[in-house]
């Protein structure tokens, strides 16, 4: 809960724990260029997911202002921006994780395969099985590696017997590139793995329920460079079968892994374009300021 509140734009919470420097009030004024709708190409044909007129409020405070964007099939879309810009909040809109925060309210139209995910008859439990999520800090459950991966399938009743489950666990771990390292230690606690392994375990856990979309919220920010490289490679493999939306602080990471990049600023979506274009020839002044390191 706190983690979420901290990423609010202009929030005054003083207990911020994030390492990166916050944009100061002065810089904000300096770069407070008018944001008038999203520039670039936010929309694609036949999108996997899409949002229209998305506003998010935490109690009285608005965190996201009128975001309109599509996420294409089997693409990796990166969301970047200074901290507190609302990118994580927006990501959590896509699998209704924000529903778990009582004071949080989301409006607008959000679809998955054209289906309204905020419709009355839509079920958040089912939605979250279809739109998986990997979190900033590796959060394996205090269970064995096997049970961690088997958690989702067991919940949802995806397998009918033990050997099917065994196969599914092995397949998921293999896809996450972890099976070789842990195949002899499946009954050991997941919390005993290294940070990078834990994060891949969390990816395997998400894959095990066979989602259509995987949301990744700064999945490598708690990891060392080598573990980060492995995860990035993994993402590249995963995009063959899944649609991935990743929030990242590292512009290099966005440039390396994504096809499209969305730049958020103070709760508004400023620019969406092909990654190459964003990093070489951004359309919006704010995007340029950010990627050239003048703030953020």
């Amino acid at each position: 809960m706190n983690e979420i509140l901290e990423t609010l734009p202009g929030t005054t919470t003083q207990s911020l724990q994030s390492d990166e420097p916050k944009p100061e009030a002065k810089t904000r004024d300096e770069f407070d260029v008018e944001i008038d709708g999203t520039v670039g190409q936010p929309f694609v044909d036949n999108p996997k997911m899409s949002s229209r007129n998305c506003d998010v409020f935490y109690a009285e405070k608005q965190a996201i202002f009128d975001v309109n964007v599509d996420i294409g099939r089997n693409e990796i879309i990166a969301m970047i921006g200074p901290s507190g810009c609302g990118k994580s909040t927006y990501l959590r809109v896509l699998n209704r994780m924000n529903d778990t925060i009582p004071i949080c309210r989301t409006t607008g139209t959000h679809t998955l395969d054209g289906e309204d995910i905020y419709a009355k008859d839509q079920d958040p439990v089912l939605l979250r099985a279809r739109v998986g999520m990997v979190f900033q800090k590796p959060n394996p459950f205090p269970k064995s590696i096997y049970d961690n991966v088997a958690y989702g399938p067991r919940l949802h009743g995806l397998t009918s017997n033990r050997s099917e489950l065994d196969d599914l666990v092995e397949a998921s771990l293999t896809k996450a590139g972890l099976f070789k390292e842990v195949k002899d230690d499946l009954q050991k606690p997941g919390t005993g793995l290294s940070g990078g392994q834990q994060q891949r375990l969390c990816i395997a856990r998400a894959i095990a329920v066979d989602p259509e979309v995987i949301l990744m919220d700064e999945p490598t920010s708690a990891l060392d460079p080598i573990a980060t490289a492995i995860i990035e490679e993994l993402m590249d493999d995963l995009k063959e079968s899944y649609t991935i939306a990743i929030v990242t602080h590292s512009m290099q990471q966005a440039a390396r892994v994504s096809q499209r990049t969305a730049y958020f600023h103070l709760g508004r979506l400023v620019e969406v374009n092909d990654t190459d274009k964003v990093f070489t020839n951004p359309e919006h002044q704010l995007t340029e300021n950010y990627i050239t390191g003048r703030f953020g």
């Binding site: 809960m1 979250r128 099985a129 979190f135 959060n139 459950f141 958690y151 969390c202 329920v209």
Partner: protein
Amino acid sequence: MPINTILITLVALLIFGYFLGRKRSLAVAGSTAKGYSDLHSLPSYYGYMVAVWAGIPALIILLIWSAFSSSIVTSMTISGLPEQMQAQSKQQLGLVMNEIKNLANSGLIANETDPIKQAAAEHYQKLTHINTMAKTVVVFVIALIGLVLAMRLIKPETRARNIVEGVIRWTMIICASIAILTTVGIVMSVLFESLLFFTSVSPIEFLFGTKWSPQTSIRTDQVGSSGSFGAIPLFVGTMLISAVALCIAVPVGLMSAIYLSEYANKNIRAFAKPTLEILAGIPTVVYGFFAALSVAPFIRNLGESIGLDVASESALAAGLVMGIMIIPFVSSLSDDVISAVPQAMRDGSFGMGATKSETIRQVIIPAALPGIVGGILLAASRAIGETMIVVMAAGLSANLTINPLEAVTTVTVQIVTLLTGDQEFDSPKTLAAFALGLGLFVTTLVLNIVALHIIRKYREQYE
């Protein structure tokens, strides 16, 4: 002088000493060129120093004297009694001594008919008088010596502040060490009496015997005068009632904690938590009254209406009420450990599409399990040591049974029964209470240490 007067006079002396010391320090202080006095400390510290020197040794002597004088005077009076009276058993001697003391205190010695007692009472009165006189004189002489010595110590270079602060520090260390003294006192008191007990009853019989009937007869020549001290029925009874209590308190307490921390909204929580705490604040004697007066008859009638034979002091009634008493205990401990489970765990589970209850049952409770187990152990230790509810609502006869509908007795009930009312301090009956107390102390100590250890380890895991 009675002790109150001594204390008040002593305090007056200390205040006097304080002002004397302060005045003297100002008198001995020379002035330096800058106009400051060359005293090492503020004048008031010299005053405190004098008060400390005068007061502390005198107080210590007074305390020690008062603590031991009554037993010394008593034994001196006894040694003054005729031989044949001294030869009596300890209990009878104690009774005689009580009579003599009452006689001396009532001031009606002249009315006593027994010349021996009259003489002894007079002797006692005289000894008490001498004792008080001597105490007064010694205490004040020591106080005055301290005062004079301290006054002579006052010189500008005396580090009065450091001396006073040193005394304060040592006082604080001693105060802190009272916790250790208390534990030592507990161990000593139960251990020594228990060892005495085990000289007349073998530990094997005590620990493994199945018959408990401590009623020793008045006359030693009666049959069955020794009583039997097999504590198994008490242990089983204690376990039975505690188990009933935990069966109520653990599910209700745990589920309450889960509901309040995971489901209830802010307003309900703000209302429900303090309300639950009220249950913890109600004195146990009230629960005992409630159990004996309302719950036990209710359960008996309920049992009768479905054709069960329920004892009027059933273990079920006592256990049920004890369970109610420890609900808030379990729920607040569980609440602590559940809220210690990081939010990331919950997010991870929700992100997989788990429902709230699935998250609680399959992630949060397993993660919080060590803490919950620790809490349950603490609750068990509470239940085992609980006294008033069982004294008022459980039985006195030691049945060896695990049927909660029957009446059982517990360790604490027996301690109370053996030690209230008329007692002779050296009979095995009285000593048995201390042996039971030792068992109770050791059991709860082990439970507490294990529980606190588990909880600490658990906390460290998520810090």
